[in-house]
Symmetry: C2
Subunit: 641 residues, 2 copies
């Protein structure tokens, strides 16, 4: 067997998020996070906040809450009890992953030395045999690997490995990777046909191991990941046998997304990773069916995942409550992770569409504009009580947001043998390695998502023949393209990629025009609580009405006329610069008084009478950044008005 | 201090459910369960099933699940571990309470000896000092009274006391009461200003102690109950400080029903009991405000209580999901208990209305027609997966239903100094003691709730001057009364009692005519998921549509026209004899195909087109007694059709 480290040094500067470059069953190769410089008005300020506020703030939280002390304690450098929850190591790892991706985008000597210090603290806590989990130290050593279902031991290991891979890819340093390899080897030695049976109740280690295999070339890690997914649904003593942790059936037989949403989506991500390496058809079939069930029965219009508070779980098909949507920020991030993997495999726009919807709505709502407060749940309606918090005792969401944002540049493009794929429209400059070894520069200029005009300009020292694949979002009916000012005459199908194959010369430019009309969407009839309600969208953004923009209006008395005419209003001074949309709405005349009417009353058999009110909607992702008040995504509509 | 036993022997045959006969601040006195013989078509078969099937079946369950063995174990007659949950004693006590009320209605030597055997088993498990809880025995003795918040120790004691009081009132025997008094005395000795501080996380003992005081005349038990309710909201170490167990604020300051619904409603019942004895104004104010909040913001149209699965808790104001309504059967029963206490205090029809609604819908749905299967949750919409179960590991609901049904005769009437109050319209013969010492017989003849005609005939050996108070349900607009065939000319206000004061002679009869029109109710606008939906009711019954009666119809495609004309159809062969209601409904033409349409789709800006379908609705309480299928209470309505 090859020595993993040597083989992989060449990849050091390839800071890819999920590195399918050599995966036999993947259609696309990711770009390095370092290769793409986002410079737009929408994301750049958020990523700057992530780098300058969120990441330092979360480091302080890890220090203040004893998460770092737990490592110092394990290595004998801190004299006190273990602090916090048994899975708290994972937050430090996710912070390291965020910091690593950030270093890939932007050198930062202070952050780099902080990262190395934390890695040193972690390394000191590792045992001779590679084991590393600060919860299972001292008096808890005998409990190691005894409660895989509950105690997140392999989950923490998975986050360590993912962070180490990110650190290696982002910085070229192997300081953290060596720790990860020792831990992974210990896991490989411990679990398997000849070792302990079972798998972690919270999937995570599966995708981490596959990524480690990609980073080191050591295929044992893929086999180990496969071993773990094969354990599910076997009703082994270490597993629950329940839908909660997707242990109700063998993974190859699963067809409905069930149970704890983050666990589910992490598991499916791991299975997708394994398929990219092994090409096992039964895995692909399961993953495809699960995705179909998710997208046609269980996903929120925001991309949010997980309907139920109890068990943080998916509900039944079409069970999508609004006020009590659980829609954990981590679940939305997990959906981005899964869709990204599927996109890299299958090169189909539906996955990029889902990724974009989730990113701009279900994920972005999870963090405040100031980068310091987080939602655990992201409901689609609220009375004004649900507010973001600076931290949680179970603090999975904050560093999960930080690592996704820090790695965002890596999600914009991919390459294939045919050429360059543009997934997301965000102004940036990208260095793109073509399959022939040539590197070109692509400049993307756009004010997306506020405007639909996208300009892509190619810079190259010599002409290059390749295809440019432009994603046409499914909602972009009427999109048009010009190439160097000439109208593109090929077919432009929403929900697919348009392939423009030609020889590209320096200065060639493509202009994509996406119609950003305000759209009203309704739900499938089986989503009962959205009956005769619509959601308002524009481009990838879901809109909502928030009380603060509509003072004195009872949001529960609003009705939209079927033919609402929405006006887009640029508000550069508001919330860092957004576009609101406004329309004349109807106000149920009998219902706008301060409501002391009974809970149930005889139905009045008469057509409703309305007054008129100017309604202002804001993008959903930015709600709850001002004074507390009611919020709604799904608004009643009257088809007869 | 009087010796309690002697003083109370005279009450032996007064099987009152909540005995306010001597409560200084109660307006009404209950009738004995033994005084009322229900002989109608609706309830009598259910009560017979309760007596002949449910009670024996639950005894077997208590035996089969080790609940009785736990008592034998505690007294050294069973050699094995404690079985089941720490609160399992309470199910045996509730079974004993059910059996006791049943004996009050109908002698049954076999049941009586079974009851005495169980009491003997329980008595043998009692300790010298009166302590009795089979969980805290042997190795767990040191844990006694150390975790009041979680371990239900006083809750179990409360159920013992309630059962013993019922047994004493029903049979005249003091065998069980003596055990209860010893336990209660131990509690009085243990808790209080000079003893342990704190209260039980699950209220129950409070109302039990007040009832024991009423049964024994020993006022210390009222003081002890008051001590327990005074502990709440004081943030003592033994309490949680959370809304979950109503410990977030002193009880006198509580104004919103919050937290675990059964705990809340048991607590308010206890507080109401204490007020009946002490007349403390602050308690009355709290209870009144809590009731108002409950009834105008948080109760389901079925009377169900508790919106959330997580914490089995009340949600926010107007948070009333349908599919995921928690609406525990025990919470509905607790609401009956609370409203009964309030009715006895205040003599106001609103409490009897709430009690009746809850009894006929939220409680009755909790048990199958065969008396052997139970709902824990009683949702108002379902996809067909929610089915009743024969038992639960936490089996609070089954014996709670059994004890309520067995005591139902006690809820029909009360007396006051003015005369006789008729709360519920159920055919029966009742022996009514008047304040002057005279006993009259009242025959109630009715086919309620299927028909609205009620005949009350007085039999008396000599004329009696008293008032007859007839409840006019709030929905009964247009009710009319005749007395011996003469039209009653006084005012008849729905939602109040009509007082008919006269000298009654043998054979005098009153005929009450309640219009049982089919009613369509809508929700307050703030109940968002009931937007533009109506519920169908007739008399006290909430109706629902169930798939089995509407084969091939997608229940999510149904729309009611605003002017629906409902036809009542007697179906004597169906489900023991019910009345269905039928109407021509609309079927959304585009929506009835097998639905493979996307989860979200562009809103079609056009008036809906409908086809017509004959829709059959059944009473909500009887759903899920046939083949599994979808069910809905709240149906879409189109005000323009």
């Amino acid at each position: 067997m090859s020595t993993p480290m040597q083989k992989h040094e060449v990849k050091a500067q390839r800071a890819a998020v999920v590195d399918t470059s050599h995966s036999p069953f993947a259609g696309l190769r990711p770009l390095s996070v370092a290769a793409v410089r986002i410079n737009d008005a929408f994301w750049k300020p958020r990523l700057e906040t992530n780098r300058t506020v969120t990441i330092p703030f979360q480091y302080q939280q890890c220090e203040a809450t004893g998460r770092l002390d737990n490592f110092r304690r394990a290595s004998g450098h801190y004299d006190g009890p273990f602090q916090g929850r048994f899975y708290n190591d994972s937050d430090v790892y996710k912070w390291l992953e965020a910091a690593s991706w950030s270093l890939a985008s932007q050198p930062d000597p202070h952050l780099e030395s902080q990262v190395e210090d934390v890695i040193t603290i972690i390394g000191a806590a590792q045992e001779e045999n590679g084991y590393l989990d600060t919860y299972f130290t001292f008096e808890r050593v005998p409990e190691r690997w005894t409660n895989l279902r509950v105690l997140h031991e392999l989950y923490c290991a998975g986050h360590l490995i993912q962070a180490a891979v990110a650190h290696h890819r982002a910085t070229g340093s192997t300081s953290f990777l060596k720790i990860a390899v020792r831990l992974a080897d210990h896991i490989v030695d411990t679990f398997g046909p000849d070792g302990i049976a079972g798998a972690c109740g919270h999937p995570e280690v599966e995708m981490a191991l596959v990524e480690l295999a990609r980073d080191t070339g050591d295929q044992r890690y893929v086999q180990e990941a496969q071993f773990f997914i094969d354990q599910r649904g076997q009703h082994l003593p270490l597993m629950s046998g329940s839908t909660y942790d997707q242990d109700h059936a063998p993974i190859r037989e699963q067809r409905e997304v069930v149970g704890h949403a983050v666990r589910a989506l992490y598991l499916y991500s791991g299975v997708t990773d394994i398929y990219a390496e092994t090409g096992e058809q039964a895995l692909e079939e399961a993953v495809e069916a699960l995705w179909q069930n998710f997208m046609t029965r269980k996903v929120y219009i925001t991309g949010g995942a997980g309907a139920r508070y109890e068990g943080e779980a998916f509900g039944e098909n079409y069970e999508l409550p609004n006020e009590r949507a659980y829609t954990e920020t981590c679940a939305a991030i997990a959906s981005v992770m899964w869709n990204w993997r599927l996109l890299l495999l299958k090169k189909e726009a539906r996955f990029a569409d889902a990724l974009e919807t989730t990113l701009y709505n279900g994920v972005l709502s999870g963090v405040s504009l100031n980068g310091q407060e987080y939602f655990y749940q992201n409901p689609l309606a609220d009375s004004g009580h649900h507010r973001r918090q600076p931290w949680f005792s179970t603090a999975c969401c904050p560093p999960n947001v930080a690592r996704l944002f820090a790695s965002l540049p890596g999600y914009l493009y991919s390459t294939s043998n045919e050429g360059l794929w543009v997934h997301l429209y965000i102004a940036n400059t990208a260095e793109v390695p073509l399959v022939n070894g040539q590197t070109i520069t692509v400049q993307q200029r756009t004010n997306y998502p506020w405007e639909g005009e996208v300009e892509l300009e190619v810079q190259t020292d010599r002409p290059a023949f390749f295809s440019l694949f432009l994603r046409i979002p499914a909602w972009a009916q009427g999109a048009s393209i010009t190439i160097n000012g000439q109208v593109y005459s090929g077919s432009i199908e929403p929900g697919s990629y348009v392939e423009i194959q030609r020889e590209w010369k320096a200065g060639d430019s493509v202009h994509l025009s996406l119609p950003l009309e305000v759209r009203m969407l309704e739900s499938n009839q089986h989503v009962r609580n959205n009956y005769r309600r619509v959601a308002i969208l524009r481009g990838p953004l879901v809109y909502c009405v928030e009380q603060v923009d509509n003072p004195g209006v009872d949001l529960d008395a609003i009705v939209l006329p079927a033919q609402s005419e929405w006006e887009v209003v640029a508000r550069p001074e508001l919330l860092g610069g957004i576009q609101t949309i406004q329309a004349r709405a109807l106000l149920h005349a009998s219902k706008n008084a301060v409501d002391e009417s009974p809970l149930y009353r005889p139905y009045k058999v008469e057509k409703p009478t309305y007054t008129s009110v100017l309604l202002t909607a804001i993008p959903y992702y930015i709600w709850a950044n001002r004074e507390a008040g009611a919020m709604q995504v799904w608004l009643p509509v009257d088809p007869y008005v």
